[in-house]
């Protein structure tokens, strides 16, 4: 992470000084990864998973507006549900990266919206992930709250929503067509290095 900052040449030390870095921890929940019908309906869903987020941003153009990169990593269980019975399907890890544009909303609140990608890494190549993980395009938006707690550090709380279309190579090989819309919502808190 912090790729944005590392990519900056030393000559633009002014930009280095204006770069904001942050780290957060929280939890992410998602809608169904898959809905299938063999006899009854089967749903595959991830459990609410712990996540970490790291990011950096730089000012652009108009005052208060910034562009940044944010990466997240989450790991949790996923399961299928059929006729009221849940079956544990193992552990699923997800990593996302978003290129964001952010701007002010009101006082300590800021909005952000971005595009990027999401990678699924199953712990076991089995079931819907028998042919391995999958990478998907991702669109997201969110709201940040920052409150100064130290001269150069802000407390940061974030609410995020993102959306992608899910499928895997195994599902395609098994005759599934189109993709499943998956929404994810996360709540997290952390610290941001302020540029005040």
């Amino acid at each position: 992470m912090l790729l944005l900052a590392l990519l900056l040449p030393d000559s633009v030390s002014g930009l280095h000084a204006q770069t904001e870095y942050y780290a957060r921890i929280g939890a992410v929940g998602a809608s169904d990864l898959l809905r299938d019908v063999i006899v009854d309906e089967i749903r595959v869903r991830q459990s609410i998973a712990p996540m970490i987020a790291l990011g950096a941003s730089l000012p652009i153009g108009a005052p208060g507006y910034r562009v940044g990169l944010e990466g997240t990593l989450a790991s949790g269980k996923f399961h299928s549900s059929e006729s009221g019975t849940d079956t544990d399907l193992g552990t699923l890890r997800e990593a996302s990266i978003l290129l964001n544009l952010e701007g002010p909303v009101y006082r300590e609140f800021r909005w952000r919206a971005g595009l990027g990608g999401l990678q699924y890494w199953p712990a076991d190549k089995d079931g819907i992930f028998r042919s391995g993980g999958t990478a998907r395009f991702l669109a997201g938006a969110g709201l940040d709250y920052r409150r100064p707690v130290l001269p150069t550090w802000d407390l940061m709380g974030s609410l995020r929503y993102d959306f992608h279309r899910f499928t895997t190579d195994e599902l395609k090989a098994r005759g599934f067509s189109q993709t499943q819309g998956v929404s994810r919502v996360s709540l997290s808190v952390g610290l941001s290095r302020s540029t005040r």
């Binding site: 299938d36 063999i38 089967i42 599902l171 599934f176 189109q178 499943q180 819309g181």
Partner: protein
Amino acid sequence: MIRPARWISLGLVAAAGACSDIATPIRNDFYEWRLIVPSASGSGNDSLTFHWPHERLPVRVWVENDASLPENIPRAIAAWRAAFLYGEFDATIAADSSGADVIVRAGAAPGTQFSRVRLHSALAPECEGATDLDLSDDHTQLRLPIRVYVDPHSDPNAPNLAECLTLTTTHEFGHVVGIFRHSGVATDLMYADPSVAGPSERDLTTAEVIYHLRSNLEAVGP
């Protein structure tokens, strides 16, 4: 079209796309898997369907160290697990036969006992297999262990013996999974005299469907 209407239309199209679900495949290419036996009540038949209940997974399989069974049984388990997307079936090798759900032995199947149903298959000259199911008199219980026999006949150097043992072992394990009948199509592994190396799409779909239907046989023991 006025500009707001255009944006609303675009938004509705995007929302419709975002909300649509994945399209599931139609699983209708499967064959009769049920064991049909004369009814316990004396009139008509009983159609028996069985799948391993989730609480009994993984199925414990004891394997005799002969006829390439220690190599072929894990392959057979993997081949049949490929049928399932949602953790419906799993099996593991057991060290002790006394607690096993399935016992796999090399050699000819012994004489059939009165209450047992034998699924005899693989008529190749190099090897053959059989799976014995022990049913209760009222046809409501499958008494464990299921016993599988893979017989390499007499000549260990017969040509094609290795291939015959592999496909016969995988075929017999298809009975263990719950396919209690033979397919009528020669390109299926569950054909009575199979010649294909692994389960066909029809075999896999049949196994998949079984695990989403109600079983009318209860596994008991060992």
